[in-house]
């Protein structure tokens, strides 16, 4: 009896260990490597930076290695305006997109959650359906739709809403269209999950106590769906900040988002240290909303015991 209990304890611990192991191998270790590169200098070499970590040189080699590390790349990030502008641009696009996604996603999710039970799986399926096509292909399709002689201008001109073709592509509008289209499922699904598990008698109780429908929505439905909204906002905001494909294909080349700047440093300039510094800074930046969400969840967990 005692023994089997102990055994179960061990297997229980192993299960707990597994996600941590995963995080160490696939997140922490790569992060340490990237962080190390961000403190290095560019070099015309293979790999294109110095110093290179070499265990065979022993203790002295290690100390020499550490002495060569410097935060120069980070200093550059804060002195050259292009990086700051890229970060700001990314945050702006992510913030505005997330707000629009919330406004569009909420009625979507609410509609699905209030649909007849039998329909709901089908509607959820419809939300997820775009994932069956490659992300890249879907963004390319938007180029087709938004270009000068594309579908959108065609329709608008036929309906006599505009007289001459509008140039949609290579603009912030195109970026927002792409972002909102691509990330809508990530907003709708967690919102739906939160709205779907809400007890409908709560709405009846509110009505019974003299609360009209529209007010019930604000006093009961919205507060109870807040965790879903937070999860959806985070699921959209974080990847949008680092998004590369959508701004690169649909946006203009004037102001770059941070993902594009990073790509340029890495591939065009072959400046691995600066690219790494951009990545590290971005990660620290994104930690803020993540910690905020963590605290929100902690609070609801403590309450929901």
């Amino acid at each position: 009896m005692q023994e089997s209990l102990q055994k179960r304890n061990w297997s229980g611990r192993a299960v707990l260990l597994l996600p941590y192991l995963w995080l160490v191998v696939f997140f922490l270790a790569p992060f340490v490597i990237v962080f190390k590169i961000s403190l290095s200098q560019t070099a015309m070499a293979q790999p294109p930076y110095l110093p290179v970590f070499d265990l065979s040189t022993g203790w002295a080699g290690l100390r020499e290695f550490a002495a060569q590390l410097s935060p120069d790349s980070f200093r550059l990030l804060f002195t050259d305006l292009i990086y700051l502008l890229s970060y700001l641009k990314s945050l702006q696009v992510a913030a505005i997109s997330t707000i629009i996604l919330l406004l569009i996603g909420y009625p979507f999710a609410y509609g699905i959650a209030r649909a007849p039970r039998g329909w709901q799986p089908l509607l959820v399926m419809a939300v997820v359906l775009p994932f069956w096509t490659s992300f890249l292909i879907r963004v390319y399709a938007w180029i087709n739709i938004l270009q000068r002689d594309g579908l959108l201008n065609d329709v608008l001109m036929r309906l006599h809403i505009v007289d001459a073709p509008v140039s949609w592509l290579s603009s912030d509008t195109a970026i927002y269209i792409g972002m909102i289209y691509s990330y809508l499922p990530f907003m709708v699904l967690p919102l739906y999950a939160a709205l779907e598990k809400m007890d409908e008698t709560l709405l009846e109780a509110a009505a019974d106590l003299g609360c009209p429908r529209w007010k019930t929505f604000w006093l009961v439905v919205v507060p109870l769906s807040l965790p879903g909204a937070a999860a959806g906002a985070l699921l959209c905001f974080i990847p949008i900040v680092g998004e590369f494909v959508i701004p690169d294909l649909l946006g203009s080349s004037e102001t770059l988002m941070i993902g594009q700047t990073l790509w340029n440093e890495f591939f065009a300039n072959r400046d691995w240290p600066v690219a790494s510094a951009i990545a590290v800074t971005l990660l620290v930046l994104l930690l803020v909303p993540m910690l905020f969400y963590e605290r929100l969840q902690q609070r609801s967990l403590e309450g929901g015991r």
Binding site: D208, P212, V220, G304
Partner: protein, 371 residues
């Protein structure tokens, strides 16, 4: 109404007319008939129970009164006014839900005060009335608690307080005690009765628990398949059921089929049984004599006196502590159920399996039923 305007949102217009009146109300869900051409009056300051097996339409009836369902046909009057087209949030009735339906994101105070905050009631008054309600359900000091920090019994009280704070004309209780354990349920039944007397409000309770309905209610409407089977006081329903269905649904009863003779006695397989009254039955009708287990006496010898008496053997004994249930196999192979109080402190039962016994009851103990 005992204390006039205090207990109701509007003054009672006419004490003579019933507070609530269902007029030929029918409710269909698609092809399913939940309530069928039902008419019912509920009086002022009455504790009224809707009792029936699940699916009998009692909850639908309650929800129509609250406004969550609209009758397919018929009218529902409150104080003589048709309320069918009045939205739920405008009706002067409040409901306590079976699941309690407490708002998980609000505190106890937020939940109880919710109804008043929908009206333009001053903050100070809301606080006062919430405190008053908390005192009423004995939850003082729980204002700031979250709902998930409460036990089942405490949640039940919060739900009750929340539904009472607007001083409704009618309080609707949908299986209010179903989620409580048996002991707590018993205590809460008496608290509900006390509360109803104290507030002088009409309570309408839906329950599937016969005992609960009989304990709390002044009058009970027994329902089956969307129709009223009998509407009467608990004692009348128990002692004078109007049909075999009601007699069987409320409590236990042994039913003996026979033919009513011209002398008012019943001829059946057990012989001639005398009755205390034959009600609507006429000589020659097929009737059933319904007998409650506790009305039957049991002895080893044939009793003397003005009794109906039959003999049989003990085939089963169920010991319940306070009483024992005996199943007696009679000469016509039918089984009669008898309940005896275990008055002796020695424990055990005075009769054993296969004992030959005589069962007897006075003529007026049985009820003659025609349907």
């Amino acid at each position: 109404m005992a204390d006039g305007g205090k207990a109701g949102r509007g003054p009672a217009k006419n004490e003579k007319q019933p507070l609530v009146r269902f007029e030929a109300v029918t409710k269909r869900f698609g092809s399913v008939v939940a309530v069928e051409a039902l008419s019912l009056d509920i009086g002022h300051v009455e504790f009224f129970a809707l009792l029936g097996p699940s699916g009998c339409g009692k909850t639908t009836l309650l929800r129509m009164l609250a406004g969550f369902e609209t009758p397919t046909e018929g009218r529902i009057l409150l104080d003589g006014e048709d309320i069918v087209s009045v939205q739920p949030h405008r009706r002067p009735v409040n409901m306590m839900f079976q699941s309690y339906a407490l708002f998980p994101h609000l505190t106890v105070e937020g939940n109880i005060g919710f109804g008043l905050r929908q009206e333009s009631v001053a903050r100070a008054e809301i606080a006062d009335r919430v405190a008053e309600m908390l005192a009423l359900v004995r939850l003082q000091g729980f204002e700031a608690r979250r709902i998930d920090q409460l036990s089942g019994g405490q949640r039940q009280r919060v739900a009750l307080a929340r539904s009472l704070i607007k001083r409704p004309r009618v309080l609707l209780l949908d299986e209010p005690l179903a989620a409580l354990d048996k002991k707590l349920r018993g205590e809460t039944q008496f608290e509900l009765m006390e509360l109803q007397r104290k507030l002088g409000t009409t309570f309408v309770i839906v329950t599937h628990d016969q005992e609960e309905a009989m304990i709390v209610a002044d009058r009970i409407a027994v329902m089956d398949r969307g129709r009223l089977m009998q509407v009467a006081s608990p004692a009348e329903i128990y002692e004078r059921p109007n049909s075999r269905w009601v007699a069987g649904f409320i409590g236990e009863a042994t039913m003996m089929e026979g033919r009513l003779g011209a002398d008012g006695n019943i001829e059946c397989a057990l012989g001639r049984l005398r009755t205390g009254g034959t009600g609507r039955a006429r000589p020659g009708d097929t009737v059933w004599l319904a007998l409650r287990p506790e009305k039957i006496g049991m002895a080893s010898d044939r009793p003397k006196g003005d009794f109906n008496a039959v003999s049989g053997t003990v085939s089963e004994i169920g010991y319940r502590g306070d009483t024992s249930i005996y199943k007696i196999l009679l000469s016509d192979r039918s089984v009669m159920q008898v309940a005896l109080t275990n008055a002796s402190a020695r424990g055990g039962t005075p009769f054993s399996l296969n004992d030959l016994v005589w069962l007897s009851w006075p003529p007026e103990a049985g009820v003659v039923l025609t349907e």
